[in-house]
């Protein structure tokens, strides 16, 4: 059964040292929950970005919550490189498992299907292959030799965490066409979701909504977090707060600035939700 928790309790469900899967900036990013993780603070996370990440990963890295990251890219997009990620890698303080977008998607599909690996074209000759001893180049077993192909081990994150527009009271979560989150949840051992609101309805009973619904089976726990993607946008609901993101980029350029940013925007629960429990 899906539990409904306060935001801070939800964040409490992410164990120190967990493999934590997070969505990309164009998807449904759980920023309120990420701030709650920083406040806690969670430690030694092994982040998996699906397939890339932005401010969410940068914030966790800057706050010393992250031990390793598996990613195709971390960036603030038009606002430039992710400053805390960049500093941590350049300073040798963050172990990075280099990947590429389709490899992360394919490895999660392997996790979703319960198979130990997934083949993927491309990759051969990239230094990624050398950087990933867990990837193997094999001979395509269905060819007559001479057709090398990479196989990727399945990914099964301990926790998938994302934000969604709404859920119903049974714990079914509406994700629309954001199916990378569906795969993430299928592959993960536990899935924690923040939502703008819980609605009194049955998402699976409506043909149109069911098509974009993650069934409650996969949802370990839910928390309400209005504007939970802020300062990122929630496509179709609200726009990104570009001024705030620019302020983050400016402040996070230095360690002191990052501390200042956290003091102002992270250390206090601006949503007030944990107090409401």
């Amino acid at each position: 059964m899906t539990e409904t928790l306060s935001l801070d309790r939800l964040a409490g469900r992410v164990a120190d040292g967990a493999v934590l899967a997070l969505p990309p900036d164009y998807s449904f990013v759980p920023m309120a929950a990420v701030r709650a993780l920083v406040r806690r603070p969670v430690r030694n996370l092994n982040l998996l970005t699906v397939p890339q990440a932005g401010i969410a990963a940068d914030l966790l890295i800057g706050a010393s919550c992250v031990a390793t990251i598996e990613t195709a890219a971390v960036s603030l997009g038009e606002l430039g490189n992710a400053p805390r990620f960049t500093a941590a890698v350049e300073g040798g303080r963050l172990a990075i498992r280099e990947s590429t977008c389709p490899a992360i998607h394919a490895a999660l599909q392997a996790g979703e299907k319960g198979v130990p690996f997934m083949p993927l074209r491309g990759l051969i000759g990239s230094d990624l292959v050398a950087a990933r001893p867990d990837w193997r180049v094999i001979d395509n077993p269905l060819a007559d030799g001479g057709d090398p192909i990479v196989v990727l081990p399945a990914l099964r994150p301990d926790v998938a965490l994302f934000h969604a527009p709404f859920a119903d009271e049974q714990g079914n979560v509406w994700l629309g066409a954001r199916r990378e989150l569906v795969t993430m949840a299928h592959a993960a051992r536990e899935t924690l979701v923040t939502v703008e609101e819980v609605r009194a309805c049955d998402l699976l009973a409506d043909d149109a909504l069911a098509a974009g619904t993650l069934p409650a089976l996969y949802v370990t726990a839910l928390a309400e977090a209005p504007e939970g993607a802020w300062p990122l946008g929630l496509p179709g609901r609200y726009e990104a707060d570009r001024d705030h993101l620019a302020e983050y980029a400016r402040l996070a350029a230095s360690e002191e600035g990052f501390a200042e940013y956290c003091a102002e925007h992270v250390d206090e629960d601006v949503t007030g939700l944990c107090a409401a429990e």
Partner: protein
Amino acid sequence: MNPDKTALLIETIAGMLEGLGRVAVGASSPIPAAAALLARERGGGRPALSLLGSQAGSDMTDGGRELFDRAGQGRIDAFFLGGVQIDGGASINLVGTGPHPAASKRFPGSYGSAYLYFVVPRVILFRIEHTPRTLVRKVDFVSAPGTSPAGVYRPGGPYALVTGRCVFRFAPEARRFRLVSLHPGHDLDEVRTNTGFDFDCNEEPPVTPAPEPETLALIRGPVGEALAEVYPRFAAGLRDGN
């Protein structure tokens, strides 16, 4: 960048997309996106486009993997890649400079390049900064190699490299770039000085053709309009001609 140069780059890239069936453009790529929209405008709806990061311009409903799956199915004819470094063999580096993993300078990461470069038939490399720092003899980290040994499945690969100074085409047999035109106001010596790799070229390369007035009107009109959803500031600049 001045508006003439922007329009020149849009025109140049659009010319490489003519006659294709479907072009995809990654996020944070306003000039390639404008070029793709221009090509579609001229082609009466062809090539079809998938603009990543755009709600209206994306027709994906299977999540983040769909672009890659489409490319694997052979449904994407052209794509754009950049590079912190691009070398003379068309290998690209999006990861960082210096020894890996303790990069002396770290960049975001390889994104989908290590896959798309292999399966999209016409990959156009685009990097405005054309200096010995960006165009190097050999990249420090190969996010995606320019060419592959025989036997490696590779229906795709590099087609051209467009910079702020010139246009190169890639010759897969020679595994080398060939300079095909210099942008107005640039000369061969300057390009040689600013390019870290050897390349082929005629003694007097032609000048990259500037867009015709009709093209400029399209760029300022429908192209700018379509671009505004994803790149509002860039589109406003296009429409004002600055």
